[in-house]
Symmetry: C2
Subunit: 126 residues, 2 copies
């Protein structure tokens, strides 16, 4: 699970660099006592704090505290909080405002809805 996540993050970092952004993976993003995203990227004009997941299933959720941390971090760092999900082989990017929240406060994304509520990488970075 952990390796899969790291590999997905590395791929994201590479995608950002290819498009002229400087991007890094955050160390210990799941274990740090400070809020932090998985990936940070900026081209000096736009800065993204990304929480990234990869799944082979048809459903991906993000815990409430993860989202809260992402928002808190972004408010201080002045970055745009973004969720990224790789369903099988394809990446989808989500603004928080486009997502529905479950009763538990989780952000839940179904693969079948992803196309409609996501933006593409090209839209994100342009």
């Amino acid at each position: 699970m952990k390796a899969k996540g790291s590999n997905a993050e590395r791929q994201l970092v590479e995608m950002f660099w290819e498009k002229g952004y400087a991007a890094i993976r955050v160390a210990g993003s799941g274990s740090s006592r400070f809020p932090c995203p998985d990936v940070l990227a900026s081209n000096g004009q736009k800065t993204f704090a990304v929480e990234a997941k990869a799944t082979k299933t048809n459903y991906q959720y993000f815990r409430k505290d993860q989202i809260e941390q992402l928002i808190n971090f972004s408010q201080t760092f002045n970055s745009e909080p973004i969720l990224a999900v790789k369903f099988s082989t394809k990446w989808y990017f989500f603004y928080l405002t486009n997502l529905s929240i479950t009763k538990n406060g989780e952000y839940a994304i179904k693969k079948k809805d992803a196309e409609e509520i996501s933006i593409s990488f090209e839209e994100l970075i342009s």
Copy 2:
């Protein structure tokens, strides 16, 4: 060596958070194929890309390629490149312009000169 470096970086991250900055350690900063700093910190107004070292000796150098990477990263990310050295227990912060370069293109800092050519953490973040 590696643990010492990571602990120093963690301490820096903590110092930034205490002063209202969002800060993270960069994963694989010594091994990534993309240029990256050790620590990134921003309060939304100032953003620092920090190459950090800790030493118990009286001398610390930074390799030419490390400095070049730090500069390259910062130009894209729009961060200020900073060197941080913890000599024994005390941190010193350096703007690149205040440092002398050896014949090999290294940046060399002697502990006895550190006080004079460094800035304090408070000066850095204010």
